[in-house]
């Protein structure tokens, strides 16, 4: 009985309840949602809320409807919006957070006070932030009145009410765009592997890049996802929401970076200075490389927040402004207003997969580093 020491028994006894609860209320419900997304629950209004609804298995029909259905243009725009939102939100938070951290790292006067002020927005809930920013971004008020302070005419930009979008592309081109982007990434990986002399890696990455490119050139143009071209792009109404989100989370990013900066031993900086590095070189060659694990953690935390974002958008633009909408909002409306539970579950599952793309590689790399220690 080497395996079952008293210690182990205790551990099992203590862990069982939380494992059971997790199993049922997290993984059980995830499984249930994924199952529902493969059914037709709610497609027939008579069955949606019946006492004993007749639910049929329909396979990937709901997913097909979301990506190629005539009526689901809103969802496709939201997918595009969420990608733009995530990119700008992460860039904004990282840039502003790093800037603030670098400024505070030079120990300015009242550093503790500034730190608190910058960190404070994070303690608000997204609903509060959203309400405040909605007021400030009103067409006739707040931010749009700033120019009048210097005598300029008031701005008329529709922060949350704009219906314009830029960088538009046809949804039918999505397979080609995706294939080309992945092929480029693979190409870069192949080049790097080649540079560091890893032969198998070079061949695998290079070959997959070539296959993807060939597919994009010869097969993808014949694929028609939609009967008519459908343009999606970056909706300008999202800019206001991105600003509010960056305002809220950049203080947190600053705290992460500040901790990282404080963790860099002074000796390293001194050594760099002794070796003749000027201030810019020191940051480029010493400080920033040492901060890269922090950047990665920050990107993952911010990335999953932005993919799941719901409350901020709900508070700022309301549920029915399709120009500033995200998939999580659509999931709520589809399930609880239109009673299309299966379609809602499919949107939820897509969101889960998107978040998993970010979280799982991070977790596995964490496990690996822990085991190697």
């Amino acid at each position: 009985m080497k395996g079952l020491t008293k210690d182990r028994l205790w551990a099992i006894a203590v862990l069982t309840p939380s494992l059971l609860l997790l199993g049922i209320f997290v993984y059980g419900f995830i499984a249930r949602t994924v199952y529902v997304s493969f059914t037709d629950w709610g497609n027939d209004p008579a069955q949606a809320l019946a006492l004993n609804p007749i639910i049929k298995w329909v396979g990937f029909a709901n997913y097909q409807e979301l990506f190629t259905g005539f009526l689901q243009g809103r969802f496709r725009q939201e997918m595009v919006s969420t990608i733009f939102f995530t990119v700008f939100f992460i860039l904004g938070c990282l840039g502003l957070g790093l800037g603030l951290a670098l400024a505070l790292d030079r120990n300015p006067k009242g550093e503790a006070l500034w730190r608190t002020i910058f960190l404070f927005p994070m303690s608000l809930s997204f609903i509060v932030t959203g309400t405040i920013w909605r007021w400030m971004l009103q067409p006739q008020g707040g931010v749009n009145q700033f120019p009048t302070a210097v005598g300029a005419p008031a701005s008329t930009f529709g922060w949350l009410s704009s219906t314009d979008s830029i960088w538009k592309f046809d949804w039918n081109l999505l397979p080609i765009i995706t294939a080309v982007v992945v092929a480029i990434v693979m190409g870069v990986l192949a080049y790097r592997a080649f540079a560091s002399g890893q032969r198998t890696r070079t061949i695998v990455a290079g070959a997959s890049a070539a296959v993807l490119l060939l597919w994009a050139i010869f097969i993808a143009p014949n694929l028609k996802m939609l009967p008519a071209p459908e343009l999606h792009g970056f909706n300008l109404a999202l800019i206001g929401i991105i600003i509010a989100a960056v305002w809220q989370m950049s203080g947190y990013t600053m705290a992460l970076y500040l901790a990282g900066l404080r963790g860099i031993p002074e000796e390293l900086r001194e050594a760099a200075r002794v070796d003749g590095a000027n201030e810019i070189d020191m940051y480029r060659r010493v400080v920033f490389p040492l901060l890269s694990p922090i950047t990665l953690s920050a990107m993952i935390i911010l990335g999953h927040i932005s993919l799941k974002i719901f409350d901020l958008v709900y508070a700022m633009a309301g549920p029915d402004n399709t120009f500033a909408s995200v998939p999580a909002l659509n999931m709520y409306l589809t399930s609880f207003r239109q009673n299309q539970f299966a379609l809602g579950a499919a949107i939820g599952t897509i969101l889960l997969i998107l978040v998993a793309f970010i979280i799982v590689p991070y977790l596995s790399s964490q496990f690996r580093t822990e085991e190697s220690h």
Binding site: N43, D44, P45, A46, Q47, A48, L49, A50, L51, P53, F70, L71, G73, R74, L137, Q138, P139, Q140, G158, W159, L160, S161, T163, A228, A237, A317, G318, P319, D320, N321, T322, F323, L333, F336, R337, Q338, N339, Q340
Partner: protein
Amino acid sequence: MSKVQFKKALLVAAALAVTTSAAAAGKLEIFSWWSGDEGPALEALVKLYKQKYPAVAVDNATVSGGAGTNAKAVLKTRMLGGTPPDSFQAHAGQELIGTWVVANRMEDLSALFKSEGWDKAFPKDLTALISSKGGIWSVPVNVHRSNVMWYNPAKLKQWGVTVPKTWPEFITTCATLKRKGVAAPLVMGENWTQQHLWESVMIGTLGAQGWQDLFSGKIKFTDPRVVGAFTTYGKVMDCANKDASGLSWQQASDRIVDGTSAFNIMGDWAAGYFTTTKKLAPGTGFGWATSPGTSKVFVMLADSFGLPKGAKNRAEATNWLKVLGSKAGQDAFNPLKGSIAARIDSDLSKYNTYSKSAATDWKNSKIVGSMVHGAVAPESFTSAFGAIIDQFAATKNSAGAAAAAQQLAVKAGFSK
């Protein structure tokens, strides 16, 4: 028996009497989204109910949030979880029918309508809107009108324009106003107010019969007349403000008051806003007309209460419905809510100037149901239609929007 013992015995008897009567009294849970401004109106109804049935403990469960968006979500979880409230609020018509009646969750109230004489007290067009599959499914408490155009009489005089009677005339008036420097002759607000406007344009173009045929599936959204109405709607939108989705309906109404815009199409709850909040006199401070092309049509929406299957206190809930449908109940509720009674025999002296005119039209007009407020279309249609309106605003593609609406109608089950 000593005096003390006698007193004790009396007390015990009294205590027993109290407990038995309390046990017999029972409870009633009513579920609504009437809080805030509409709270007092509901309170008046509850007070009336308590006068009639003093022993019943009324649990007034409200979930606040405009037009009941939050309340409806809570209601769904309660119904699915098997604990329905005894009676709940729902927009009269397809919003209730398309969600709960088709799912076989509601009780037929035909017998109640007969015994209370409601089949005569309510207009026939209204009863038709709340009926389906041979049953009547809810008791309408109040009536609001959707097709009202609001304006500022002094400003119209200053601009020298009159109230347009048809949509083509409206577009001409709009051009005149634009020449006179009014940037946005029409003001609209967030998405649902745009659907509200769309509804008025559609009815004003198709007529009441065409509108009814559209939602009974007799004519399709791809019909040339409907596509033409979409085009008209696009032209009407060109007259409107560009920051619409940032405005609530109150903020949109404010622009009529301050003269930024000339017209606003909004339901008649705006009358309450103008008189109570803005302290304006009806007729001089603010004016109203039926929206263009709908002079003899009353586009109605109503709040109603139904009786879910499996209600724990069925008898009390039935009594509640009786109070709601009674003349006393409707005349207690509606003057406070700013709506008119669904009954045609209400006591008009209790109502304000606007409501009196609306009540007269209620008796004399052709009644049709509103789409955006849930009377003629199920939730699955109305909720998704918002995206079509937004897309139309961006593309102005009438044929595309009509085709999308037709697919949605097929999916929602009222068209083929």
